[in-house]
Symmetry: D2
Subunit: 118 residues, 4 copies
C-alpha cells in the first residue's frame, strides 16, 4: 500500500472541503474511536464462532469492510497530521511485543505476560 499517496489524496480531499479546521489531531482521534466502535457494533451480538463466518453474509461482510476502511482512513489522516511514520511505528511495536511476550511465557496464555513483576 502506498501510504504517502493515500495520505496525499486524503489531505486534498479535506483541503478542498475546508475540513482542515475540523481535523485537529484530537478530533481525528475521536473520529477514529467512533469508527472503531461502529466496526465493533457489527460483531456485538454474534457468537465468537459466528464472527468467523461473516463472509457468508455478503451484506454484513460489505458493511464490516466499509467500517474497516473508515478506521484506516482516520488512522492515516491522524498519522499524517502528527508526522508519524506508520510502517516504522508498527515495526518498532512488533519488536517490542516480541520482547514483551516471549514464546515460552506467552504460549496459550490470554492474560498477557507482564514483565513488571519485582
Amino acid at each position: 500500500m502506498n501510504i504517502a499517496a493515500i495520505q496525499q489524496a486524503l489531505r486534498e480531499f479535506a483541503d478542498e472541503r475546508d475540513w482542515d479546521q475540523f481535523h485537529s489531531p484530537k478530533n481525528l482521534a475521536i473520529a477514529l474511536a467512533v469508527e472503531a466502535a461502529e466496526l465493533l457494533e457489527r460483531f456485538q451480538w454474534l457468537k465468537d464462532s459466528e464472527s468467523y463466518r461473516l463472509s457468508e453474509k455478503p451484506e454484513d461482510y460489505r458493511a464490516v469492510r466499509e467500517e474497516v476502511a473508515d478506521v484506516l482512513i482516520y488512522l492515516l489522516r491522524l498519522a499524517d497530521r502528527l508526522s508519524i511514520d506508520l510502517e516504522e511505528a508498527v515495526c518498532e511495536k512488533m519488536r517490542k511485543n516480541a520482547e514483551k511476550y516471549p514464546v515460552e511465557l506467552a504460549k496459550g496464555n490470554a492474560v498477557k505476560y507482564n514483565r513488571r513483576e519485582p
Copy 2:
C-alpha cells in the same frame, strides 16, 4: 507499506504463542476499539490547539505513536482474518466519500452533507 508481509509476521507471532484461539474476528474488533480508546485517552484533556503541538512533548508523542501502532496492528490482523484487502477497501471508500460529500455542498460544513433527504 508491505501489508502482506506484516500480516504474515503477525500471523506467525500469534501462531507461535497459540493466540489464534483468542483472535476471533469478534475479539480482534474488541481489541481494536480498546486500543483506539487508549489512543484517544492521550488527547482527552488537551485543548484542540494543544493537540497540534504534541510533538513538542517527546514522551507524549512517543506514547501516541505506540498507540497508533497498536491500532494498526489489530486492524491488519482483523483484515487478515476476514480476508479484507485493505488498500482496495480504502480506495473504494474514498470514491464513495467523494460522491457523498461533493465539494460545493460539503465546503466548510462540519455537519456532513447527507444525500438521504428527498
Copy 3:
C-alpha cells in the same frame, strides 16, 4: 440512588480542583467513552461463559467494579452539565424500546427488529 446528591458532590469535587475548565460536555463524553473501553478491556479475551463467572476472581471483579463506577461517575457528571434528568431519560427510552421491539417480533432475535422497512 440519590442522583442529585452525588452530582452535587462531583460538582464540588471538580470545583475545588479547578477542573471545570476541563469538564466541557465534549471532554466528558470523551472521558466516558474511554472509561467504557477500559471496562470492556477487562472482558477482552474472556470467553462468553467466563464473563459470567467473573466474581470467582476477586481481583478482576474488583477492577471491573471500579471501571463500572468510573463510567457512572462521568455519566452523572455529563448529565449534570447538560441538565439531563437521567431517570426521566431512561424511563422514556424504555417506553420507546418496548414499542420498537414488540415481544412477538423480537423474541430470541439478536438482530433487533427494525420498523423502518416499508
Copy 4:
C-alpha cells in the same frame, strides 16, 4: 432513582424477548462501549464551547439525551448481571479519587496527579 426497580424492569424486558442468551456480561460491556461511542459521536466535530450550548439545538439535545439513556440502560443491566451495587461502587470510587487527587496537588492540573511513584 430507584435502581433496583429499573433493573427489574430491564430484566423482564430481556426475559420476555429471550434476550438473556445475548446479554452475557461480555456482550453487555461491548454494547456499553458502542453506546458511549455513539454518544461521543454527537460531539465529534463540535468546538468545546459549542458543546456547552447543545440545548440550543433541540434535535441534537434530544439525540444526546437518548444516547445518555442507552449508556445508562446497559450499565444498569451489566451491574445487575454482575451483582454490582452501583451506589456503593460509586461512593467507594469517589473516596478513592479524593485520596488520589488531593486538592493542593490536583488544582487546575489536567494531567492528574498520580501516586504510583516509589
